[in-house]
Subunit: 132 residues, 2 copies
């Protein structure tokens, strides 16, 4: 909790109970929740937080670089606490998003495209989970 407060402060974000609750949840999450999924979860620790505040807070965390937003799931933006470059796997059946380590896939040529100044890239893979 104190770590989260310090982190918010260091990022120029005024810590409030609502913001702390949202940050604790999303920064501790290994999944890729939508804003409304965050809202549902955060209401458990902060029952009076409003939906608009959750959206506002998530967008602020993105703006300050603490989390990333991704366009990977149909119908909604998802949020990702893993800010370092990595790839994604999208489960076609469930829509669930999985992180793929940056080094698991090798990409060359992406930053040398003619006509484009590439700032970042990722490989987006689609398929299904393998039975274990």
């Amino acid at each position: 909790m104190t770590d989260t407060i310090d982190l918010l402060r260091q990022s120029g974000i005024q810590p409030t109970p609502q913001r702390i609750a949202v940050a604790e949840f999303i920064l501790g999450s290994k999944t890729h929740p939508s804003a409304d999924e965050v809202f549902v979860m955060v209401r458990q620790t902060c029952p009076t937080v409003s939906r608009a505040t959750v959206y506002n807070t998530l967008n602020l965390l993105v703006e300050k670089g603490l989390i990333r937003q991704q366009v990977l799931r149909e119908g909604t933006i998802i949020f990702d606490s893993h800010v370092a470059a990595h790839h994604h796997f999208v489960d076609e059946e469930t829509g669930e998003i999985h992180d793929v380590p940056w080094d698991a896939v090798q990409v060359s040529g992406a930053e040398k495209l003619i006509g484009f100044e590439v700032h970042e890239f990722q490989v987006v893979m689609r398929g299904r989970l393998r039975a274990k």
Copy 2:
């Protein structure tokens, strides 16, 4: 026009004036329009087509494999007449989507991920257009 009718029939799609208009537009498009952008454009050739019919038709074309849908732009699904594997470049400033030829980028390892059965993949690049 006759080509489009034949193509629809071969795909098991009953050709109607509305469907022909939508198919002609999207199959001839080099861009990545949203459903509502298609709606606006198709209304020029088929002024009485309804918005629901445009959505229905695009989804049917996707289902039959004539076009692809992509989750690349915030806030909306885009449609892509280029069904063969290729990559995409997303212009950070405008949100515009550009095709990148499959061979322009080399990817290895994507289909050998532990735990995942990868059916398809693409590299999604973000940045800005280079001044020409």
